[in-house]
């Protein structure tokens, strides 16, 4: 880790990712302020998910990514894709216990971990789902379980890739409250990909419009500017006008 600006948690410089010779991201430079909610928006194929993947060091890249940790250094992550084998007998409680107990979960969960799992599920409005296999959860339920996993222990950086996809209204309200809570403490920095522009307006401190490179960055108001609206899919353009 190099010496960085104390007010900035994440510094990305000249980030380039290529696959089969084609640039998925080219020369992206981005600063994410500590304690802020920073949202990435852009059309499909703009490289938003790719950018999050580079932050967790999942894919090779050129350029520099610096994380200026000041606290736990923990990362919470809700990935866009979490494909569960439909015959895999792993329950919600098993999954949440994986990083919360040292003993192999196949030997059973401790009483402490069972209580912890119940608390985490209550936090995302899924009490009582402990024994349900991951494979039978709906898309929205699965994302709430992933969110519960990502929020504990309290992350210093929370990466959310389209976290509200498949959420109903009450789930969306719970999600918003949780992110606002994290923001209020100032200890968690959120970098989120979202297509829900109403949500972005309510939660975001900064917005970066990405289309393989940074198109524009600013407050959520930039979403209403003409050049940005042209870039977005029709559904999102409607949301911006509203």
């Amino acid at each position: 880790m190099t010496e960085g600006d104390a007010a900035t948690l994440l510094e990305i410089d000249a980030l380039t990712v290529r696959r089969h010779g084609e640039a998925l991201l080219e020369g992206v430079t981005l600063r994410v302020r500590r304690g802020s909610v920073h949202v990435l928006v852009g059309p499909n194929g703009a490289g938003k998910t790719t950018l999050l993947s580079t932050v967790v060091n999942q894919i090779p890249f050129d350029g520099q990514i610096v994380l200026n940790w000041a606290g736990s250094g923990a990362i919470g992550y809700v990935p866009q894709i979490f494909a569960v084998d439909p015959t895999l007998p792993v329950t919600v409680a098993d999954f949440l216990a994986l990083t919360r107990q040292r003993r192999p979960i196949c030997l059973g969960l401790t009483r402490r971990v069972r209580a912890e799992v119940a608390r985490l599920l209550a936090r995302v409005g899924l009490s009582g789902l402990e024994a349900r296999p991951l494979a039978v959860l709906s898309g929205g339920e699965l994302r709430r379980v992933l969110l519960a996993h990502a929020l504990d222990p309290e992350p210093e950086l929370l990466l959310l890739d389209e976290p509200t996809a498949g959420f109903d209204e009450s789930a969306a309200r719970i999600f918003e409250a949780l992110v606002l809570d994290a923001k209020r403490t100032g200890r968690t920095t959120v970098l989120m990909v979202s297509h829900d522009f109403e949500l972005v307006r309510r939660l975001a401190d900064r917005v970066t419009v990405l289309d393989r490179r940074v198109v524009i960055e600013g407050t959520p108001d930039i979403l209403s500017t003409e050049g940005v609206r042209e870039l977005l899919p029709v559904r999102e353009r409607r949301a911006v006008r509203a």
Partner: protein, 292 residues
């Protein structure tokens, strides 16, 4: 060990144990099954979860090539562990390395290794038949209780304890990595390390089980128990218990069939395991059809 076999034999003669146990080689075989069941059963539920069934098949073929190499280099016929372990280790490292660095799908790459080790193994086996009677090599291919020694049993115990301890240390990370490598990474696990680590444990488990199960059939015992367990398990704990139970019943049942009908142990064990698979499949379908 002889005193132990005599004592067990005495219990069998007095009718406290099945009459088969008056023969030391059967007692030894049963002890091997007692150790192999938790090792391969335990490994199998992670093998299936990590989608490494085809990898295990390639490793079984590599073991045949390893045995042939070892024998050609002068290893004793009843303990060709050097060639077997050396070649399997080399194949494992090569398969994992190429899989991680190539852009082709994993099953395609493993198919290439599968073909390579099979072709090489067949050529070496033909060369081997000039020095040994093919029936002497048969026990390695199909498994045989008659060739298992106390040394093999001790090796099995040692490796079994080592594999179990390593799995206990890394089980949760291995499972999380199977579900989502990015999630495993953000919690501090290193997916590349975990992949090599598990492949090496699998190699060790397969190599020490070969004399009982046989090189051609060992892959079945690292896949079928977990496949059967999936038909009935409702959580990770029951998944492990069922995998080990199926491996044990298949092992003990196969042992009985093998001695009664004088068929290769490996074949009998695998037949018993697949029978368990179909039984659990039926149980699952009946459970679904049952009252709500």
């Amino acid at each position: 060990m002889n005193a132990f076999y005599t004592w067990i034999g005495g219990l069998a003669l007095q009718g406290f144990l099945p009459s088969d146990f008056q023969y030391p080689f059967l007692v030894r075989g049963f002890l091997c099954v007692l150790i192999i069941a938790p090792i391969l059963g335990g490994m199998s539920h992670l093998v299936v979860t990590r989608r490494m069934a085809f990898f295990s098949a390639a490793l079984g073929q590599a073991a045949i090539t390893g045995v042939a190499l070892g024998l050609l280099l002068g290893e004793p016929l009843n303990a060709p562990y050097g060639g077997m372990f050396g070649f399997c280790l080399l194949s494992t490292l090569a398969m994992v390395y190429v899989k991680r660095h190539a852009t082709l799908p994993p099953d395609t790459l493993i198919g290439v290794f599968h073909a390579l080790t099979l072709g090489l193994g067949l050529c070496l086996l033909v060369a081997l038949t000039r020095q040994f009677n093919v029936h002497q090599v048969e026990s390695v291919l199909f498994g045989s209780l008659l060739t298992v020694t106390d040394g093999d049993l001790l090796l099995l115990v040692g490796i079994g304890i080592f594999v179990a301890l390593m799995l206990v240390r890394k089980y949760n990370s291995l499972l999380l990595d199977s579900l989502s490598p990015p999630l495993a990474r953000v919690t501090g696990a290193e997916p590349a390390y975990l992949e090599y680590f598990f492949a090496l444990l699998l190699t060790l488990s397969i190599v020490v089980s070969l004399k009982i199960i046989g090189a051609l059939l060992v892959e079945a015992l690292v896949v079928v128990p977990a496949a059967a367990a999936r038909n009935v398990a409702r959580g990770t704990r029951s998944y492990l218990i069922w995998s080990v139970a199926v491996a044990f019943v298949a092992g003990a049942g196969g042992l009985g069939i093998s001695t009664r009908f004088l068929v290769p142990t490996g074949g009998a064990v695998v037949l018993a395991a697949t029978a368990m698979f179909f039984l659990t499949l039926m149980a699952r379908s009946m459970g679904r059809r049952g009252p709500a």
